[in-house]
Symmetry: C2
Subunit: 436 residues, 2 copies
Amino acid sequence: MPQPTPSAIKAAVQVQRAAMQALFDQLRLDGLDEPGVSRDPYGAGEQRAHATVTLAAEAMGLEISHDDAANLYMTLPGRDRSAPVLVIGSHLDSVPHGGNFDGAAGVLAGLATVGGLRAMGLTPECDIVVMGIRAEESVWFQVSYIGSRGSLGALPDGALDVRRVDTGRTLADHIAECGGNPDALRARTRHFDPSRIRAYLELHIEQAPSLVEARRPVAVCTGIPGNFRFTEAWIEGRADHVGTPRRFRHDAATAGAEFAVALDTLWADYEARGVPMACTLGRFHTDPAVHGLTIVPGSFHFSLDVRAYDEGVLAELEDKVGRIIDGIEQRRAVRFHLGQKARAAVGIVDPGIKAELGTAAEAQGIPVLHIGSPASHDAAAFAAAGVPMGMIFTRNENGSHNPYEAMTIDDFLDGSTVLLQWVMLTQKLSVTSGAE
Amino acid sequence: MPQPTPSAIKAAVQVQRAAMQALFDQLRLDGLDEPGVSRDPYGAGEQRAHATVTLAAEAMGLEISHDDAANLYMTLPGRDRSAPVLVIGSHLDSVPHGGNFDGAAGVLAGLATVGGLRAMGLTPECDIVVMGIRAEESVWFQVSYIGSRGSLGALPDGALDVRRVDTGRTLADHIAECGGNPDALRARTRHFDPSRIRAYLELHIEQAPSLVEARRPVAVCTGIPGNFRFTEAWIEGRADHVGTPRRFRHDAATAGAEFAVALDTLWADYEARGVPMACTLGRFHTDPAVHGLTIVPGSFHFSLDVRAYDEGVLAELEDKVGRIIDGIEQRRAVRFHLGQKARAAVGIVDPGIKAELGTAAEAQGIPVLHIGSPASHDAAAFAAAGVPMGMIFTRNENGSHNPYEAMTIDDFLDGSTVLLQWVMLTQKLSVTSGAE
């Protein structure tokens, strides 16, 4: 059969504009919790989103199924049902009072992709599975990637026993209530053998305004950051009278300030050299129980998240953070207590998929950026399981995790068009029997 | 009459060693509230200290009287009872669980000085009034210098209606209970017409370890700092996702850190040039209600106290603080909200008294430092009323406002000897009639 032209591929996505807009509108109504939307995972908000998306998938003739973690699978059958599958997905939960697009846009992009294939009357060589993933946002259970890791048999120990911060009920309870099987998850069953997944693709709104700044609709992800974190660090100094001369002070807050400025200077240096990283002191404070206008702070508390896209860069940064601390301890006669360190591995984007997504965008004449993901995503769970992974970002003016997320339907359709073009480039497609 | 030799003056103080040590020991027992001592103002702790000191003064034959603020006056009559008086004093209250010397050492130094005159059989030309001042510490009523300002008719508006933080009862209630007359204070009566005070002298433990560092027992005060303060300042930034690239951030905490480091650098510069000042960010914190590991801080709160010993230096510092803020606002896209500014005037030490105290120490062969007071003192209230004022500090290893204050009896006697030598240098003394 002749390969459809880029114009035909674009048209096959564009014809779904009204349907996709209606689906986004319905999801917004389903989750409305002013300001913004709340799609609480394994709760009423997420359930309504699953119901709405399921109805749409059924209308498209996709096969519907679920796994023990109550993830939603909407499958367009391929010619070879036993071949490793292509998964396109994202999550359907949100933070409280979040926006309508963080997560849901990726699920709908999957639907738009398979919808495009159907519009062109094409059958893929393998099953294409659109995945509506559960419980990605860590704010609710303080555990991230519950759905994606659950599907891969990779939930962390004890995760099923954690309680949702608002309901106080366990994750196991919540999963069971939504039709999942926590006992099976406890026994490490998995829906996916990673070797049976050909690739995992995810579209997501960008959580930063890089695309807005560059005036481009779509970006190809170059990597998902790994990080090291100190969640409960503090600096031990000595409380002193407000009039104490400088040379006698062990001022924990000024030591913390010097630490923050040194980290920012380090980051500026990496930024200037084009090495992506980020560094955040989210909690950064004197002790509210004892601080006061006329007391030199005797202790100072902080959390630190340092993220980068290369394990070597992370190791280098950790070394430099240690040296910064050594210097401050010596100069300021204070002592840093870093406490427990947490780590997350870099989520490596498959180089082949990254290149193919660039080629697909070029074929469509859609100008793309190549950027590291600001945040982590379900895609990182698949990459960690050894699945070839790729992501694309769509332009978003106002960050995520807030009611002001802004993605236009045009940019969404451009992102979906890149996805469909990529499927066309990488799959041997045949005309569906019914359309022959 | 022949002027007593420095040795005779020193001996007249040294003979009181055992009595003074016993008086300090009794005060410690009176205030014992482990750890440390608590002499709550216009309460049981301060009352016991007043009773103990009164007994000692009566035993020395001093005249005892009180004013409407219940301050204690212990007077050695001079030849001319109508001449302006010399006041030597300090306060008898303490912070909760404080040390035994902050305040009380200055009252006992007054007793040791008049005791020295009596030991030498000398009558001063004017009354020398040893003053046991009430309620200097601001921690209890959140008002400072209540006793000294009360004696001068200079209590701030509304002060009598404030409530002690622990008892919840008003200052007026507490004063009445201790024999004072709050109605008279409300009518702005005063015990002292400032023009009737020849000079106010105060000995106090140093609140910093400058004397320990310099290995000297005594310092002559060069000034009491004035200050400007922002008690409720904050920085407005924008909360963002932890992965937000650096160039998009409006990080309020890093802006606060840059502010702190800039102030510290400014201070280091003044220190290097020998211009005394101090700068304290006592409260310095992200908002505990919203901060978190994965959120770029959108707001940051701080208090600032900047102190110096010269009004010109204070004005210059305030200007520089403003420029630092301007620069940070521009570089970091944040906005400082400084809120209410409070000021305290510099407490100027009388240049004549300062020089005379130096001469007195030299006559005694006691090596002194000249240092600015780290803290404010009752002496500042007298200076503000136009009374010529001088202070001396005694060596103290461990700061003040804590149970570990450390002043040796030797250093106390050295300080008292300087005071007595100064009285000898500046008063025409005559042999007391009884000793003639």
